[in-house]
Chain length 193, copies 2
DNA sequence: CCTACCGATCGGTAGG
DNA sequence: CCTACCGATCGGTAGG
């Protein structure tokens, strides 16, 4: 692992623990056993550490959803795949994903705007799947936009509790989250608000 | 509105915009048209501003869930009420709730520990409802703990997009979120993972 | 509510 | 990767 990656990894742990604003370059250097100015031989600013992790996770998520939407499948299967893919990216980079979810809003303004655009695009790809399911007659939602936002937040919430060495695999988590969208209440039960 | 409340309100807006760590007492004072040291006639520390908003929202949520669990009702109705109550508290204090959801982890350590305890208690009250529903035979979940965590995150995500002057009322949002838990996928649809 | 000010700490640079 | 250091800014206090 290169020195730069070591720094990135340590920075991730620190950003998760105290937030991006709470992380100091001196504190980061200390954890690595070097002096703060030495960090700047490997990166050009503190902001860079946040930018790298956010765009890294974003790229993985984007790649995954585009693959799903490129395939000719029905919406239910696409939804499964999209959820599975999303959960996989997050669980395989659990610390980075925690920072991605919780600290992206502290990106410098230019990168923040770009990030928001990418996030909105990603959300719209998810929404496309839900809309396909409605057209196919297999899904029904009052408001697709709210549903997609809520679904993504539900998926992202795994960064708060998932442990890679726990008893649940990424696929098992994905399965549960998929079922959460549609089968919590048994079919026999009458639902009137 | 008292001076202290004016300061709290302005602090909320600023914490939402730049985060608790990003908010400075000088910046806050400037928005209020006074000098930074003057703030300390109304509060004793910057931390106090965060503590107050977090415990304020927490108390409202606790009061509400205990009411629901005190009533003799079936789980489906309780779940509706709990969701409705949660959504109501958040929508009626939308900026404070945003800070509550996103900034509680920057509470000073003593208050943070207390907060986590209260949050866990709240989550367990929600879980009780889900477990009641399972016992009644109207609800089914693979893992109740994960479901309750996911559900609460889904509910909390409204702080990201809800606008009090938008076209959706608090009750309409609650209704949609309730349906999200259990009726996204039509009953006729075969679900096999 | 103000002026004057404190010690501490920040991200980052110069130069080697 | 280091020492030496910069200007800027932080939360907060003293005293009125």
């Amino acid at each position: 692992m290169s020195r730069k990656q070591e720094i990135q990894n340590e920075a991730l742990l620190m950003m998760k623990e105290v937030g991006f604003a709470g992380m100091t370059m001196r504190g980061l250097a200390k954890k690595l056993g070097i002096e703060a100015p030495s960090l700047y031989n490997h990166l050009k600013s503190k902001d860079d550490l946040l930018i790298e992790v956010c765009s890294n996770i974003a790229l993985q998520l984007e790649t995954q959803i585009l693959e799903v939407n490129d395939i000719y499948f029905n919406a239910i299967d696409k939804l499964k795949m999209a959820i599975q893919g999303h959960v996989n990216v997050l669980t395989q980079n659990i610390t980075a994903s925690y920072v991605f979810v919780n600290e992206w809003r502290f990106l410098p303004s230019n990168e923040k705007e770009l990030f928001i655009q990418r996030r909105d695009k990603y959300e719209s790809e998810f929404r496309r799947i839900l809309e396909l399911g409605i057209n196919e007659g297999n899904l029904q939602f009052q408001d697709v936009k709210i549903t997609s936002l809520t679904l993504l937040s539900a998926l992202n919430s795994i960064v708060d509790w998932f442990h890679p060495d726990g008893d649940l695999s990424s696929d098992e988590v994905a399965k549960q989250l998929f079922q959460f969208v549609g089968s919590g209440i048994k079919n026999e039960t009458e639902i009137h608000w």
